[in-house]
Each structure stands twice: as C-alpha cells, then as structure tokens.
C-alpha cells in the first residue's frame, strides 16, 4: 500500500512548486487580462471589461509596432543563427586540438549573462570610443562615425547581432549532436565516388539533418520571442520604438504605465503565439517521425 502511493509522494513537492509558481500566476494573469486595472488609480482590481483589452490591442499602434519589430527580429535572428550554427558544426565536426579548443571557447557566450552581453555590445558600438564602431571605421572609411545605436535599422542590426552571438554556439552544439547521430556510410561511399564537399553537404548531410534543423529553428523562435534582457541593456527599445519587442512593450505597459489589465492581455497574446508555434512544432515532429518509420 505504502509502496503503491510512493510514485505520487515523490511528485508532490515538485508539483506544489509548479502549481504555486506557474499555474496559479497564469490563472491570475488570465483573469486580470479581462479587467480594467490601472495601478496608479486603484490598489485593487477594477471591474471586468470582457474582451476590451484584447480588442484595444488590435488597433493600438504601439502594440502593432512591437509585433512588427518582434517579427523582424525573430526572422532575421533565427535564419542567421541556424545557418551559422550549421556551418560551424560542419567545420567543428572533425577532430583535432584546435577543433576541441574552439568548441570549449564556444561554451562561453552561452554561459554569459544576456544583460551583460547587451551592455558589452552597447559599449563596443559606441561611435566615439567603441572598439567595434571604430574598428569598422578604420577598415571601411565609409563606416566612420556611424551612429550604430541611434539609427533605427542599424540598432535592430546590432540587436540581432548580439542575439546571434549569444545563441549560435548553443545551436552549433545541437547541430554537432545531430551530425554525430547520422550514419557516415553514405557520405564515405559518395566521397570514394569522388563527390565534392558541397554535394556531400547539400545532397547527403543536410537532408538527414532536417529534423534537427527544424527543432533548432522552432526552439530559437521561441527563445527569440521571449528575448528581453538585451533590449533593456542595449537599446532600451530605441531609438524611438524601433527595437521595442513585444516582451519589452509588455514590460513598459505593466511597469511604466502600470496598466495591469492591458499588460496581462498582451502577455497572453504573446503566450498564445508561443503556444501556437509549439503545438505546430510538436505536430511537425510527430509527422517527421511517422515518415521516418514508414
């Protein structure tokens, strides 16, 4: 009897944590998303307003802007990260002391605090004394004195760059894991037949990596949607609202304007987008597996 219940007892502590720290706050914010609640006016939640917060979002220009900014950020950072990671993994897959050394170095960016990454890049892209800004200016005279973080498009570029720098190593390790698990025979046979490296990569390796690449792209999309720290420390959403991603906009609505109802509704829109992508991803994975076993 005691032993039969043991599996449940073991689960209880973790479940209390998950319930108290995730499920309960989620329910709370879901309810709040249907309320009007301006913290500057009232300490307690005000009345229910139905879908008003959600409807308001569909026509509010700053929200629509943040959606667009997020879209641009996600697309560029996901594409760049996946391609670079794949290329790096193909390079690092060979064995050798320098390969091992580079692999160890690659651990560092991912262990670094994202807030600190934002700060460091802000420093390096400062047009007056930033080392990258000046280095680029020295090599390409046309880039001298370019105000990297004061120009909307360039600031977005730098934001994407920090994110690519942060995540490419991690994704490279995922690719290396994927590469290690595909059989080498076909590749070797093709090599003996005299196939070129490019043909081997595009004709043999990449098709077998489809599953891993898909997983990477979706995971990276989810991480990019959540990205927040570097926006605060690198650009502060600026110049103007050109790098104000959805996560950062929600933060502003909640903790600068203190409009809790609207912020909660926006937070749930972000959650819905992420859920949609994750469900779509799980279904893709399942159909991949079916194809593999068929």
């Amino acid at each position: 009897m005691k032993d039969r219940l043991l599996p449940y007892w073991l689960l209880i502590p973790a479940f209390i944590i998950v319930l108290a720290t995730t499920i309960y706050p989620l329910a709370y914010s879901f309810i709040t998303s249907f309320r009007a609640w301006d913290l500057t006016k009232s300490r307690r939640p005000e009345g229910f307003v139905g879908l008003d917060n959600y409807i308001y979002a569909t026509s509010e220009s700053q929200f629509l802007n943040s959606l667009w900014v997020t879209f641009i950020f996600v697309i560029t950072s996901v594409i760049l990260t996946v391609i670079l990671a794949m290329a790096l993994a193909l390079l690092l897959r060979r064995k050798g002391p320098m390969h091992t050394f580079t692999r160890i170095i690659l651990i560092l960016p991912f262990a670094m605090s994202p807030a600190l990454i934002g700060v460091s890049y802000r420093f390096m892209f400062n047009p007056e004394f930033g080392v990258i800004a000046n280095g680029l200016g020295a090599v390409f005279p046309a880039l001298q004195g370019v105000p990297w973080l004061a120009d909307p498009q360039l600031a977005m570029g730098v934001l994407v760059l920090t994110d690519v720098w942060h995540w490419t190593p991690y994704m490279t390790f995922m690719c290396l894991g994927g590469l290690a698990s595909i059989p080498r025979e076909t590749e070797e046979a093709a090599r003996i037949d005299g196939a070129s490296n490019l043909r081997i990569i595009f004709g043999i390796i990449l098709p077998q990596m489809r599953g891993v690449i898909l997983v990477m792209a979706v995971l990276k999309t989810i991480f990019a949607l959540k990205m927040f720290d570097q926006v605060v420390t690198l650009t502060g959403g600026g110049p103007g609202t050109s790098t104000e991603t959805l996560a950062y906009f929600i933060f502003n609505v909640g903790f600068r304007w203190f409009d809790m109802g609207y912020a909660s509704a926006l937070a749930w829109i972000l959650t819905a987008i992420m859920m949609f992508i994750s469900i779509w991803y799980v279904r893709m994975l399942l159909s991949e597996r079916k194809m593999a076993t068929a």
Partner: protein, 271 residues
Amino acid sequence: MKRTLAYVGERALLVLISIVVLFPIAWMFLTAFKQPRDAYSLSLVFEPTLQNFVTVFSAPWNLGSMVMNSVIVATVTVAIAVPCAALAAYSFSRFRVKGRKFLFFLILSTQFIPAVVIVLPFFLMFRQLNMLDTRLALIIVNLAIVTPFVIWMIKGFIDAIPTDSEEAAMIDGASRLRVIKDIVLPMAAPGIMTSSIFCFILTWNEFLFALILSRRDAVTLPVGLVSFRTERGDLWELMSAAGVMITVPIFIMALFIQKHFTRGMTAGAVK
C-alpha cells in the same frame, strides 16, 4: 598543395571564430582593469589598475550587497529546486503513474511560457504582501523557471541509468526509498551536480524578475549593471568590473560541466 591550402584555411577559420567569440568578453575584461581615461580610448597598452573593483565595492555602488543577493538567491533556488525535481524525475522515469503523460506535458509546457506573463501577477501579489524587493520574492519566482527545467534534465540522467541493480536490491528486500537513497542517488550524482550548476547559472544570470521585483535591497548583479548608467553617462570601466564579477564564477562552472554542456541544454529537445 590543394590539401595544405584547405588545411591552412580551415585552421585560419577556427582562429577567426575563436576571436569573434572571445573578443567581446576579452574587451570587457581589459576594460575592467583600465583607468577611466584608458577605458574611453582604444589603447591596448595601458597601466592596469584594480581601482575599478575597489570603487564598485564601495559606496554608492556597493556591489558587495548585490553579490550577496545573487549568491543567496541562486543558492537557495538550487537547494529547493534540485531535491524536489530529483524526486519527481525519478518518479517520472521509473513509474507508470496515472496521468503521467499529461503531468509531464504540463511541466514541459511551462517552459514555453514567457517570463513576463508570470512576473505580472507576482508583482501584484508581492505588492499586496509587502514582499517586493526581498530575496524571498526572487527565489519564489526563479523556482517557476528552474524547476521544470531541472526535472527534465535530471530525468534524462536517470533514464540513462540501468535498472538492474535497483531490481536486485529490491529482490534482496530493500525498500524503494532505500534503493533511491543508496543506489540511484549515488549513481545519478554527476547528473544532479550538472543540473544544479545549470540551475545556478540560469538563476545567477536572471534579469527580468530581478529588474521588476527589486528596487534597492534585493538587487542582483545583472540588474546592478543598469545602475552604472548615470547622468554623466555610462561608466564603462565600472560596468566592466561588475561584468567580470558576474562572469568569472559562471565561466568556472561552465568549464567544469563542459562535457555535459550540450547534453544538458538539449536534453529531450532533440528527441
């Protein structure tokens, strides 16, 4: 000839990659040891100084109290999350609990929830309870992010342990709890250690929660960085010194679990 060219090219590329990865970190480390006038020039030659570290640890910056906050928040979060997660992971790994699939899915799906959704209600609750700007508040919120992640990771490690010796011990009459304590935990120890370090890194680097839930007393290191933005502009040499304080302990830990790095972070993700 063509082969040596490819050989040299590949090595050169590896060097280039290492430079691109290391440079921003190295530049921050150098800046931390520069005097203000050198920090705002691009000189590689400078007279190193420890003054920045002295400055950040004295008033008004008081980095020491932020270090304390970071250490306490990360350590206590690990101390609560890892034991609870290890027990749950064992249960998920070894038993066919009713509704197990649903429960496991529920736990995993919380990983896809953006932190900003969770922090809104917590802000309101802690405000009501007068708990804003306390370490306890940060620990509670960090548990939300870390616990599912650690369950997932440790389950991966326990799954990899063969069940033979557990079964043998139980035939000899050992209870399940005995088996867990004397056989599974020692065998899973390296995995649990690795998970603890990941958990520590995650909490140590956490920014959003600390930014919103702390003002003065509970400020952690990453949020402390923002305080070096003053009316006089950003104080880069001090920011860099604080950055070194954030980075060094984490790098040591990351290198320590280097072999498990990918396995830990991709646990389950590729499966």
